[in-house]
């Protein structure tokens, strides 16, 4: 059953270099698909000549299927792969989909399909090209007819999945608790050593501390990402003025989260938060020296994504008390899924206390960064926090 004129399917199957990637649309000949089919067939472009899918020469498949090569065909070898195993696989997959009832037999004369086919120019093995493209087309057709994926799947997977081509997952802090390792040491080669020593865990966030950024600039975030592409990097700017400008600078330097001071004028804070949201990064409010963060949050028209309850390093030396008594009120004031981070003097014995008070992120500095066994110290915190990897126990091929 075709809804709203056409349906869309996509599938990726196989291994490099013969890997098959299919995008297709199936719809009624009377609608936009029929028009696109005719336009595409009558206006071939160099290297992307559309062709009908045929079961064998002189026997086109039904529903009528147009193949459009995604990669420019530059030589005879590429053309032979496309006009041979790929074309044949598409036709067979369409015919089998009719036989299997994925496409209704009664509607084959009313429908048309446009299939965009990727064949890697380095692909050589005809068996693999055929099998992968057959499987991908059949899967894409089934998905199109079943309206796959539903929106719940998309919303669930967006925070779990990793795109093969970038090789790392964009973490957006949806699965607390997290361990934020605050690197305040203004010596790049030591920082490089610390980052290399940290466990490669989803729960580890790296903070480029204020002294580090003051010495080297926000570009240090990019260098940290080059060492650890999968990690969230926080630029601890503690901005007090020109909120939008500083947020943009850190965002351009690939920071995932940027901090501003809750002591800044409200206008600065709001412009900072708005700029962060505009460029797709998270805004962190640092509450150092602020007596009542809830009062400040309530006054803001735009709310921060993370609130850090922060006791200054200088204050830590003389004051052993913490400031995380009103986490519930803070989250309520933000009115959304805000995270609360606690910083300043976090040691192993305080981990459970902080988590049970509602903290989502534990900010730990010298307990980890000044340890010779950086990895062991970080793992001790992670064990105490009881965190596991995103998707660690799922065995996944596709849906």
């Amino acid at each position: 059953m075709i809804e709203n004129g056409f349906q869309i399917g996509e599938a990726l199957v196989g291994e490099f270099p013969e890997i098959a990637h299919i995008d297709l649309i199936i719809g009624e000949k009377k609608g936009p698909i029929g028009q696109s089919f005719a336009n595409s067939l009558s206006q071939p472009r160099m290297g992307h000549t559309p062709m009908l899918a045929v079961v064998r020469p002189n026997l086109p498949v039904k529903p009528a299927t147009l193949i459009v090569p995604k990669v420019t065909l530059r030589d005879l070898e590429g053309a032979e792969l496309m006009f041979g195993p790929a074309q044949s696989a598409v036709a067979k997959a369409v015919a089998d989909s009719v036989e299997d009832g994925i496409i209704s037999k009664n509607s084959v004369e009313d429908l048309a399909i446009i299939v965009s086919v990727f064949v890697h120019p380095r692909g050589r093995d005809y068996q693999r090209v055929y099998r992968y493209n057959y499987a991908a087309v059949k899967l894409a057709l089934r998905r199109a007819m079943e309206n796959f994926p539903n929106i719940e799947t998309v919303l669930e997977e967006k925070d779990k999945s990793m795109h093969d081509m970038i090789g790392f997952r964009i973490n957006n802090l949806k699965k607390p608790p997290y361990l934020e390792v605050a690197i305040d040491i203004p010596d790049w080669r030591r920082v490089e050593g610390i980052i290399r020593g940290l466990p490669r865990k989803d729960a580890v966030i790296i903070e480029a501390g204020t002294p580090l950024i003051k010495r080297y600039g926000v570009e240090v975030c990019q260098k940290i990402h080059q060492l650890r592409p999968e990690s969230i990097v926080i630029a601890d700017l503690k901005t007090l003025d020109t909120g939008n400008l500083e947020a943009r600078m850190a965002g351009d330097a690939t920071a995932d989260v940027v901090s501003f001071s809750a002591l800044a004028p409200l206008k600065t804070q709001e412009r900072f938060i708005d700029e962060c949201h505009k460029i797709g990064i998270l805004a962190l409010m640092d509450t150092i020296n602020v007596n009542d963060p809830v009062k400040v949050i309530k006054k803001l028209n735009s709310k921060p994504d993370i609130i850090e309850l922060h006791r200054a390093i200088d204050q830590e030396l003389t004051d052993a008390t913490h400031q995380w008594g009103n986490i519930g009120d803070i989250k309520k004031a933000c009115g959304k899924d805000a995270l609360v981070a606690v910083a300043g003097g976090i040691r192993i014995p305080k981990v459970k206390e902080a988590l049970s008070a509602g903290a989502d992120i534990l900010v730990v500095g010298r307990s980890i960064t000044c340890s010779k066994d950086v990895n062991g110290s970080a793992r001790t915190f992670l064990m105490e926090m009881g965190v596991e990897e995103v998707d660690q126990f799922r065995i996944m091929t596709d849906f």
Binding site: R189, R190, E192, G193, E219, S371, K372
Partner: protein, 96 residues
């Protein structure tokens, strides 16, 4: 042991990376810096944040029989990768 495991096992404490320059005098140091830039460009990575300090350090370092001594904190630092990649003779001395 994988590279990640290797990285994680290493103690984070200062070590000395000793690299032998390929040429004498300032020419050797300039060649060293040129090679370093070439290495970074070909790996498509940005300059390390401490690059200005690093250049001053290299140009000012004493040469001890042709060797320069650079402090690193992890056995697998980018500088050691550079030395391997560009065929420099090197050794790492640990002090922990």
């Amino acid at each position: 042991m994988s590279e990640t495991e290797n990285n994680e096992c290493e103690t984070i404490f200062h070590k000395k990376l000793k690299i032998k320059l390929k040429d004498k005098g300032n020419e050797g140091r300039v060649l060293f810096l040129k090679d370093y830039l070439d290495f970074l460009i070909k790996r498509k990575t940005t300059l390390p944040p401490d690059f200005p300090t690093f250049v001053r350090e290299i140009m000012g370092l004493d040469k001890r029989s042709g060797w320069i001594h650079i402090t690193i904190w992890h056995e697998n630092s980018e500088l050691k990768e550079f030395a391997i990649n560009k065929g420099y003779e090197f050794k790492v001395e640990h002090y922990d």
